[in-house]
Symmetry: C2
């Protein structure tokens, strides 16, 4: 067991939209990701998903509104709710979600990734 430094972990990769696992807490994973541009609309059948913005400004598009998260802000997207992350500029994001969570939710497509530990 050791301290996990977020800035150090973010320095280890450059790929966008490719979450990396940095810790586990019971049946949950802590992941970090770098985002820029628009993702795909999706929802998760069973998993709530927490987004905490470490750097930048993240828009989470919902069907009825946009939710804007600045640095130091978080939101939980409840299971079942369609959402589409959008980052006009690069965002560093921390996620907390069940280990079963797929980045593209209930769909598998060309944006689906199998997250690796970093």
């Amino acid at each position: 067991m050791q301290a996990i430094n977020l800035a150090n972990k973010f320095s280890l990769f450059t790929e966008l939209w490719s979450p990396k696992i940095i810790a586990e807490v019971n049946d949950f994973h802590v992941k970090i990701g770098k985002l820029k541009g628009e993702f795909v609309w999706h929802h998760h059948e069973k998993e709530d998903e927490l987004f905490l913005v470490i750097k930048g400004v993240l828009t989470i598009r919902l069907r009825d509104k946009d939710l804007v998260l600045h640095e130091g802000e978080l939101a939980v997207i409840p299971k079942g709710l369609e959402h589409c992350p959008y980052a006009p500029q690069e965002v560093y994001l921390l996620m907390f979600e069940p280990k079963t969570t797929l980045n593209t939710g209930a769909d598998t497509n060309d944006r689906t990734v199998d997250p690796e530990w970093i």
Copy 2:
């Protein structure tokens, strides 16, 4: 659903060693707390516990070493492991842990609190 601003949430209370719930993610709670001084030695029977330091420097005393967490650093204390948080200066802390987690772990004593939503 809305953005949860950490700085705003920390401004709403002053009590030390009294975690506040700010979000839920499936069967987990996101809590924040202000710490200063030394807590009590304890462990959790079933719950891993994630600590992310938002401000300050937190020492987590373990039986065989001290784990020091600076701002932007996190650690997961696995279930069963005795630990004792210690903060020489005030620390702002974010925690992810199962909803069943008691702040004093497997023991109930005068430091035990029933966390409230903030």
